[in-house]
């Protein structure tokens, strides 16, 4: 039984009677189990519940595929989204045994659309990292070449799709955590507009930046999944009250006259030569398909990593204050007083990168430094927003590389946090500005490692963005 199937292919198979959801689900689960030692993409496998749900789906699958967009489709979800009664760890010792009392809205919407949740995917602890090496449950490996990282922080979700362990998956993206692993693993990954998808039940990292989005084998699967999970949610006050079209209808492949902005700042020093060549070729392909290439300026590109690592860590230091050993999760047994319990619990159960970011964020917000760091970063963020507003006067989408290099080797940057942060130079801006962006595969390096093209859209313009990506892919 094959598991290498897109949603369209699976639905055709279900329609023709060539396979049933229970058979596909069983095959996917077997594949996940076989891959665990090699790839470590999942923290928790939802085996019994998935098989049971799939058997129920078997009964009327031919009807279901006409009414439910994800009927019988195996999906995987990053383990920082709550699932009732199914362990949700955030890749951290501090939530190692956490059983959520409720389900994240995005996950509930997948299930209501007929999807079968096969498991919770591995991630950098609390979504903090660019290599998936920061998980308390061990690193994830890149299925293209296991000596290399899959990217992060949604590494497990990218690998799930790349290695045929699910048809589509959900990740979260605070500074590139969907797009960069999509680029490293050769799949499609979308960060929707800030507010497009409810974050109810997503464990918060940086609340002004976090957004849930889909991974898929192609743009169609990503568009379909976005249509399912998007929309206003009464449980998330930051979810936007914008109409949600069926994004599949936007995929015409016609990009005649589409203005594609190219910022020269993103093609300079520090960009891997093979990545540059591949992304330039991708932009030329868009031009051949009828797009008009225009120059746009993003003059503050040099400062984005500095701004991001001040704002993201400041918000993280506040959000992660809730992990104190009182109400859920790990509690230190060595403490005698309440104050000691807080400190020991956090020191024993947080990993090094999480502590580093909490410390940096606390520093940026502390008395005497607030104006020079946090306030300054928020002012530069306004300048970045202005840069993008101006750029979108001249173009409809912006094209850049997703990451400055292809995947790097496990261990290569572990001891140099700043080098790791600089890998996010093309992705973090998008979260600071709040616009949507997608990574689509655009070739491979001479070592065979995938390269990603990042296309950026204007606020709530996912339909046009997805169509541009679709036209490129076709």
């Amino acid at each position: 039984m094959t598991t290498n199937l897109t949603i369209d292919e699976l639905h055709q198979l279900y329609a023709s009677g060539g396979a049933k959801p229970s058979e596909i689900t069983a095959a996917v689960l077997a594949r996940i189990e076989q891959s665990t030692e090699r790839l470590n993409a999942f923290i928790t496998i939802n085996k019994d519940a998935a098989l049971k749900q799939a058997e129920v789906a078997d009964a009327n699958i031919k009807d279901a595929i006409t009414t439910q967009p994800l009927a019988g489709i195996p999906v995987a979800v990053k383990d920082n989204m709550c699932t009732t009664g199914l362990r949700t760890t955030c890749g951290s010792k501090i939530l190692g045994n956490f059983l959520p009392p409720y389900t994240a809205t995005a996950v509930a919407k997948l299930e209501a659309a007929g999807a079968i949740l096969v498991g919770k995917t591995n991630l950098d602890e609390f979504a903090m990292g660019s290599s998936n090496e920061n998980s308390a449950f061990g690193p994830v490996r890149n299925p293209i070449n296991e000596d290399y990282v899959p990217g992060g922080s949604s590494g497990g979700s990218a690998v799930a799709v790349a290695a045929d362990l699910s048809s589509v998956s959900l990740g979260s993206d605070t500074g590139g955590s969907i797009r960069q692993p999509a680029s490293f693993c050769g799949v499609v990954g979308l960060k929707p507009t800030y507010g497009r998808v409810s974050r109810y039940g997503l464990v918060a990292f940086a609340s002004s930046l976090d957004q849930i989005g889909p991974f898929g084998k192609n743009v169609r699967d990503v568009a379909r999944t976005l249509s399912v999970i998007a929309g206003r949610d009464r449980y998330d006050a930051t979810s936007a009250n914008e109409p949600v079209p069926n994004f599949l209808n936007a995929l015409t492949g016609d990009i005649q006259g589409l203005r594609v902005g190219v910022p020269p700042e993103c093609f300079g020093e520090g960009l891997d030569a093979e990545v540059k060549t591949a992304v330039e070729a991708a932009i030329k392909k868009l031009e051949e398909r009828g797009a008009e290439i225009v120059e746009v300026a993003l003059p503050h590109s040099k400062y984005v990593v500095a701004v991001y690592y001040l704002i993201a860590t400041a918000e993280a230091s506040s959000n992660l204050a809730r992990f104190d050993g009182v109400r859920y999760g790990y509690r230190s047994e060595t403490a005698k007083t309440l104050a000691e319990m807080y400190q020991h619990t956090r020191d024993e159960a947080f990993g090094a990168e999480v502590k580093r970011r909490i410390m940096l964020g606390t520093f940026a917000l502390s008395s005497g430094y607030y104006d020079a760091y946090y306030e300054k970063a928020q002012r530069v963020r306004t300048m970045l927003c202005n840069d993008f507003a101006e750029a979108f006067q001249k173009c409809d989408v912006i094209a850049t590389p997703t990451a400055p290099t292809p995947a790097f080797k496990l261990g290569e940057k572990v001891n140099d946090p700043l080098a790791m942060y600089l890998d996010d130079i093309f992705t973090v801006t998008i979260n600071l500005v709040g616009v949507p962006a997608i990574s689509v595969p655009c070739g491979a390096s001479s070592a065979g490692l995938p390269i990603g093209l990042q296309l950026i859209g204007n606020h709530f313009d996912e339909a046009r963005l997805l169509n541009a990506a679709y036209a490129y892919e076709a």
């Binding site: 009464r234 009250n241 914008e242 020269p264 120059e295 040099k302 001040l310």
Partner: protein
Amino acid sequence: MLDAILTCPSIQHPTSSILSMPISKEEVTKIATLSNLALTPEETESFSVQLAGIIAYIDQLSELDTANVKAWQQRSAGEAITSYAAREDRIEPSLGTDVALSNAPDPDLGHFGVPKVIT
């Protein structure tokens, strides 16, 4: 067109080759206390070097004149084209004590148990 754009001089990407003095262990300890973290001596040592490198990198922001720029505020990004969800302020069923306590390390008579506060 693409070739013309990309032959323009471009901004150099910053690199991580920054030499900087470590911030003092006393400062790291102070930040750790504010963060409710009890660091080991080894952690204090490595964080003082790493944080100094990161802060030195971040210090490049000081080149920018932001005197006349307003700090970014939540909602300003999408404000013009959307409104964000607010539900009616009405009392609704909540988790209840048993479920709320189900993950607690030390549930005690319907409360969260903690070590002694006053010693």
